[in-house]
Subunit: 363 residues, 4 copies
């Protein structure tokens, strides 16, 4: 069920970049929840293009229209559908790309998979625009998590050669996680934002693009969430994260650095902090055996450099059956990492809420 995700709460995604709308159906949300729609709009604005010189000039309103599932100020418990109309189309920009496969994009793989019938304009169903309904869903999930004492936040750990410091793995404050959401380039070391911006603009000047790493943390999660063998917290979060275009890696806790550590270093010692069980370190990212242990859940995802660049690139023309040279016109983000931050947060929030709601009542 390729466009459906989740167990107790499910998201069904639809839409193409240049179709009538993109949207989502959210099923299984608890009834009787108040939703702060302004807060949802703010989250969606964080993802929206055209906010700075760092992103594409395409200015989508990203205004959502609720179709169902919200009545008299509360969720109804029945499916909540929202559509986000597409606008600001320059569909003609893509006409000449019908047979020319952009490297790094899904043009070729989509063509093979769907026999050439896929909507190729602007990436169609593969477009980053599909992350708009993901942010919509995540913004709702965040509000429900907040009631349960859970906060999800993220910062840009790396853009190209510019590296931010790591989160304190044993915990950041809710306030700090929330403050990060106010920044265009959310970082822990404030001076790194300027360095990252400069790095991005330099690449842009060279008609090129850059990638980065986003570090995400969820605090306030109770211990005991997760359903091994196959529905570990890591499994469910990674499944969701790799759905987001451009994500090519994920690690939990110390991740790949664990390969160079000894067991005596990597094991997080438990201790009683009064009645509360904690670990002194958090190399395992708050997860043991696929289940939360009450410490912050920490993970990092890598975002590859934006595939759309204006440089000349070698590729194929499936119409002529010959190799060719491509120069993409149009508007591109030299870096999508900062726009991916709210998407990663939203995807994490949705997944964690589903995991919490799916955990048996009595456990």
């Amino acid at each position: 069920m390729s466009n459906i995700m989740g167990q107790t709460i499910t998201i069904t995604l639809f839409g193409e970049s240049h179709g009538a709308s993109v949207g989502a159906v959210l099923d299984g949300l608890p009834a009787g929840e108040v939703i702060d729609w302004d807060q949802v709009r703010r989250e969606m604005e964080r993802r929206a293009p055209g906010r700075s010189a760092l992103s594409t000039a395409r200015a989508e309103a990203d205004a959502f229209e609720i179709q169902s599932g919200f009545f008299n100020g509360y969720t109804t418990g029945t499916p909540l559908c929202a559509i986000i109309k597409n606008s600001d189309h320059h569909s003609r920009d893509y006409d000449h790309l019908r047979h020319v496969m952009r490297p790094g994009h899904a043009d070729y793989t989509g063509k093979v998979r769907y026999g050439g019938f896929q909507d190729f304009r602007g990436g169609g169903h593969f477009s980053g625009r599909l992350t708009a309904p993901v942010v919509f869903a995540g913004a709702i999930a965040s509000q429900l998590l907040s009631q349960r004492g859970v906060t999800v936040g993220a910062h840009i750990l790396q853009i190209g050669s510019v590296q931010d410091q790591f989160f304190d793995p044993t915990g950041e404050t809710e306030q700090r996680l929330r403050q990060l959401k106010e920044e265009t380039l959310p970082v822990l070391e404030i001076e790194k934002a300027a360095a990252m911006e400069q790095y991005i603009l330099e690449a842009k000047g060279q008609l090129d693009s850059v990638g980065g790493v986003i570090e995400c943390m969820a605090i306030g999660l109770p211990a005991g969430v997760g359903n091994p063998f196959f529905d570990s917290v890591e499994s469910r979060l990674s499944h969701m994260m790799f759905s987001i275009p451009a994500v090519k890696g994920i690690e939990f806790g110390d991740g790949f650095a664990l390969a160079g550590m000894r067991g005596s270093q990597a094991n997080d010692s438990f201790y009683y902090d009064g009645p509360v069980v904690k670990t002194r370190t958090n190399h395992n990212g708050g997860i043991n055996g696929g289940i939360t242990n009450g410490m912050p859940v920490v993970f990092r995802t890598v975002i590859k450099p934006t595939a759309s660049i204006s440089r000349r690139q070698e590729t194929i023309d499936t119409d002529t059956g010959e190799n060719c040279i491509l120069e993409i016109q149009g508007r591109h983000d030299p870096c999508i990492v900062q726009r991916a931050v709210p998407v990663i947060e939203a995807a994490a929030a949705w997944t964690l809420l589903d995991l919490i709601l799916t955990t048996p009542q009595g456990r």
Copy 2:
């Protein structure tokens, strides 16, 4: 559905380390397939403990008994169930651990999740022993993939500070992938095996353990496999991989290194090699937009150091409600990376076969 995985072919896993048996029900396998059971046994031996000084002395036979789904030399198309009886129990080894939470293990999280009713002996359902039926399933899947021209292989890229070279991302030969399966420590640079062994034994001598990185490659996959938005090849593979105990990170193609690259470097140029579409590089690991592009699928997973170590560790006693000191007796693997190699291959094979079978007929 926490112990069920897959769409067209599903695996339902059951068992605990010290219960009657572990096993799996495989549903949806095509009818009429010949299975080479000796080949399945060889794969299971690769995972089995007790093969060398590098792993635990616990000598499980790992002999499987087919309960159903195989008749007159062929798969029937109805569920194939296999059980692997447990033996060589030293259940008493674990009695004193009932209330003492081993760091790095699921003792505490499992206790919270299942209210203390989980089988705690030897990790119970969280034991690495649950990977035996995964290897069983994967060994069957490998044979079906082989008929379709697909081969999955893996090597140890890193153990502690010892690093093997990378696979050639544009492709290794089937022969080389198969040869790796013959080695206890499968590496590309043959001299690295001895260095890794020495590194592991050194840690063992210090009552400690080590982790590592496994690089896995699947060759021969057709282009067009994968089902975005949510069932991308990366999503499905990562979901499965994080089910395997001790896996804490996964990356596809150049993975985290993409954060330091430019778009002009990261994009893999397409070209016609005769009628065949290929890419000159493979920074994207054979996957664009969540769909295979016909190049080898390449990914790396990190295996954390074995959580079971004999060193003194601080932890909690949930019976007394106080902090305490733990010294684990019994048999431990100083390194499980080499035993994880066939598990990773098996998990990949099962997942890729499911993805291939789920891809629509006419696409």
Copy 3:
């Protein structure tokens, strides 16, 4: 996943009777299919209210708007979303019903299930209006089935005391099944239509309503479709049928009459009609062991009398916590059986297409 149905092709349903819209997301449809939208509109008109004195005067346009999944005249293979805007609201009609539980409706059960937050206007998510997107989905499925030689048709077997003859269980012609779709009251014995109409109008005059039985047949199905143990053709069809409001029973083949038969009567003898395997009778409704045998699939569903009637009824007021008398104002269908016919056909078409597409390629 309460509002999602299907395996290879899935339908996600949303909407309430008096919300912005009702609609569906259809995922997994094959790419490259031409859809005759006029034909879809005709199917939806068959279900739409206001067509005759037999149904409610509420005149919904039931015009659908495609949001995604259809491009350049073909299905794209990615999710096809359609919304059907609601109009002609008389929401005020329902205000006084907020606390008065209409007998036979989901007012009370919905209130308990959703804690009183459900949209109660016009039945909300429980409204028969939710069958509009089901007909939309089924009309598409019918076209894809038609390409595969499969036709689904239905007639009204019974309304109150008026009984039509049964389908010939060994097969009706495609032409006859198609002709039935042209009729307001589709029956096999043409004179029964008038008798049924009279019966309905008589009940209407008494401020009452009537129910009936619909007999449905699918011809042209290949043998070998269905996936026991749990996904038998009967299981999948019945699951779908009982989703349709007012359906309270289903039987396949001779159904309940089989209780009075002997095995020697009920068994359908196989024979070769040239190279084709057929059965001489069809007491089993074209299904043996949950799998199609190549004969027509035949089933009957009972539609209970419309719950909305204008007569005085006893019920409860959950606001006062006391028993009360209800007199429903507004527009009601004295009989929905005729409007349910295209819904049953659509639901069957969608389910059968999913079953066909889910049957393994090589079987």
Copy 4:
């Protein structure tokens, strides 16, 4: 996922009549539940063959062996697997049936579906023997339901021309439902048992078989259980029921009789019985809009006459490609209705428990 059923609790079924074993994996059961295994055995004995002259002489022990999921006297919360070894094989009885398709059985459809590779002995995976693990699962579910105040019971409403009276639709006592489980032929009018037995033996004497109707009731269910649109109580129960071999119809409440009723008759009036909401009648079988209303859930299923009869029957030989005459040797049940009673109860208990556990916590 053809052999997997359920949402919060899932059953994965495996096995063939003449393979090593049949069994089930039950996943998602709450942890910490005590199971009365003797009670489970009693339920399985009700289904087991060889108990009277009315059923086959094949005497299977139906002894189950727990593989996992039960530890120290409690469910663990991880998968509970049980296998039931097959014994008393007369596999040779079936050798000559390999190419001769028994009417009313799945021989032909299974052959087409699985390309001839299915285990054809004794019906293989289509055998009624697969209901043994269903009864096992249901017997566990019944105990968990009992803790929640829910009791499921059933009686034989009809065998051939012998008709028992109906349950009182507004409720039977728990005691009466339990007493019925003690009878070989559970009926409400005690004298009907002898009449049914005589009817069955008469058919047996004629080398023939009979069918019947089972009426099932669940009392004690809370209002508010069920998940429309697609996971109505009727949808979920019917899906499960049609998985049981020989079931060809199901109706809820007054079922097909509703076709002859008026709305004013069919609507069940609500009233307050003190603080408790009840309905004065129960024509809707305790379900409105797919959700329980707190009244007993009542449904009836028809069981077709046993397909295996010793009479000469016409059929086809797929080896010769010609029509032929079949005379089945071996042991047959002249009637399986009485053995189906505990299966229907078990299937209902499992499904209702899943629905209860899946209903959101706060609703």
